[in-house]
């Protein structure tokens, strides 16, 4: 599927956007929403992200990353840029952890999705905070070093440990099946 979409995207076939939206928009929207913490802003950013994906489809290099990673980074960067105005930084209490851990309400949360969320939230604090800061808040390594007083080298090795811990949970046969179900479930809903 990913290969088919990539071919359409790089051929500038608009059917690519249709498929991309159906398969990926909930994940992209969820990430953007978690970063900007505002529905209306997230809606704006999501549109901009799809336009950017469309415009820059010819730049995507399948050897360097998966399509999903490429799009997620576009979405994260756009969302983080939207929050990095001096105003937003002062306006939002960035040290307010309740904002960070707020889970957007869904009508019916897929239990498999909840398991993965629980896995992230179930990580040791030092791992979970790191993933949240880098992934959902766009902290650079330098910013984390300053704020949390962790040396740069430790940040990286700790991130490695955090991701390894998560992957170990994902990699159990059960978790892999669950992850697959989540993916299929999302596809069917669309």
């Amino acid at each position: 599927m990913e290969q088919r979409i990539v071919a359409l995207l790089q051929g500038q076939d608009r059917a690519a956007i249709d498929l991309l939206y159906d398969h990926y928009s909930p994940a992209l929207f969820g990430v953007i929403l978690r970063i900007v913490q505002s529905r209306e802003l997230a809606e704006q950013v999501l549109q901009d992200v799809f336009v950017r994906i469309w415009r820059n489809g010819h730049l995507y290099d399948a050897h360097k990353s998966k399509l999903y990673t490429w799009m997620l980074n576009i979405a994260r960067n756009a969302a983080i840029d939207a929050t990095r105005t001096a105003y937003f930084k002062h306006f939002r209490k960035t040290d307010d952890l309740t904002l960070l851990t707020h889970v957007p309400a869904s009508e019916s949360i897929n239990p498999d999705v909840m398991d993965v969320r629980k896995m992230v939230h179930g990580l040791e604090d030092k791992y979970r905070i790191l993933i949240e800061k880098i992934y959902f808040e766009g902290y650079t390594q330098q910013e984390i070093e300053q704020e949390l007083n962790i040396p740069l080298g430790t940040i990286k090795t700790r991130l490695r440990a955090a991701m390894s811990a998560l992957r170990a949970r994902f990699d159990t046969p059960n978790a892999a099946m669950q992850a697959l179900l989540v993916y299929v479930g999302n596809w069917i809903i669309r």
């Binding site: 909930p26 336009v51 001096a86 105003y87 990286k156 998560l166 992957r167």
Partner: protein, 263 residues
């Protein structure tokens, strides 16, 4: 660096998240080139990050797809050649031939391509070189100065009674040095069609609130930051709900939020 040291360092994770310095990018890409089997590890990390994203999925509103398709349809397909020239290279003979043969339409295609190419190269640099992002700001230099000034005081307005929306954030920023007051709003519940919000200031010795700006609907989309008249002797700020156009009585109709100035 050997493979094990490289993997344990976490550089690969940081690379995938787009957070490394240009030097770190070079290190990672050199390792990937030298040890192609590392691509499997890269894919595994990417998949884990995808799963985190999927776990936080949220369906966009129903109107979103149509809106996006409309925007994409508005974009003219550019007649880009299949291989993009490097930024440093001169025009290839093939490109020159196209320009020569296709005259005006080629000139237009070239301009569209160039604009897209510059934007694309910028995005490419951003993604692949993992440069630190500068903070982009749509604010005026004065607003930025106020927000960054350690002497600026900040007063949060609180709902009087039950908050209709938990996430509403209303703050007044006061800088006495420069005599500037800013009102910042985020996620105010939308006022009814025949109503407006209005800001008021209560000054020392004057029990009657002074009306400040009527807050028009388009400042209440999500986040707004607007300059207000500065009062050196402000004691409190309030937001009320008024008929459209603001209070006609000179006093607030219904006060919704109040923030006291301390110190």
């Amino acid at each position: 660096m050997d493979k094990q040291t490289f993997l344990a360092s976490g550089l690969l994770e940081v690379y995938i998240l787009g957070h490394c310095t240009p030097e770190e990018v070079r290190t990672v890409e050199a390792m990937l080139a030298k040890h192609p089997e590392l691509h499997q590890e890269r894919l595994a990390i990417e998949t884990a990050l995808e799963q985190i994203a999927i776990a936080h999925s949220e369906p966009p509103p129903l109107w979103m797809k149509g809106r996006i398709l409309d925007r994409v349809n508005e974009i003219e397909p550019s007649t880009t050649p299949s291989t993009a020239p490097n930024s440093g290279s001169t025009l290839s003979w093939r490109w020159l031939l196209l320009v020569g043969v296709l005259a005006l339409s080629t000139l237009l295609a070239y301009r569209a391509y160039n604009a897209a190419s510059i934007e694309a190269q910028q995005l490419h640099t951003q993604l692949q070189a993992c440069q630190m992002r500068d903070s982009q700001s749509a604010l005026t230099p004065e607003q930025i100065a106020v927000l960054n000034d350690p002497d600026t005081k900040r007063y949060r307005l609180k709902w009087q009674g039950q908050a209709p929306l938990e996430k509403t954030d209303a703050q007044v920023f006061v800088n006495d040095k420069n005599g500037v007051t800013l009102l910042g709003l985020a996620q105010m519940p939308t006022a009814a069609a025949d109503r407006d919000y209005q800001l008021w200031v209560i000054t020392k010795g004057n029990p009657k609130p002074i009306p400040l700006k009527v807050l028009s609907p388009n400042t209440l989309t999500t986040i707004s930051l607007e300059k207000q008249t500065y009062y050196a002797d402000a004691e409190a700020f309030a937001i009320s709900i008024e008929p459209k156009g603001g209070s006609t009585t000179g006093i607030p109709t219904t006060v919704l939020m109040v923030g006291k100035v301390s110190g």
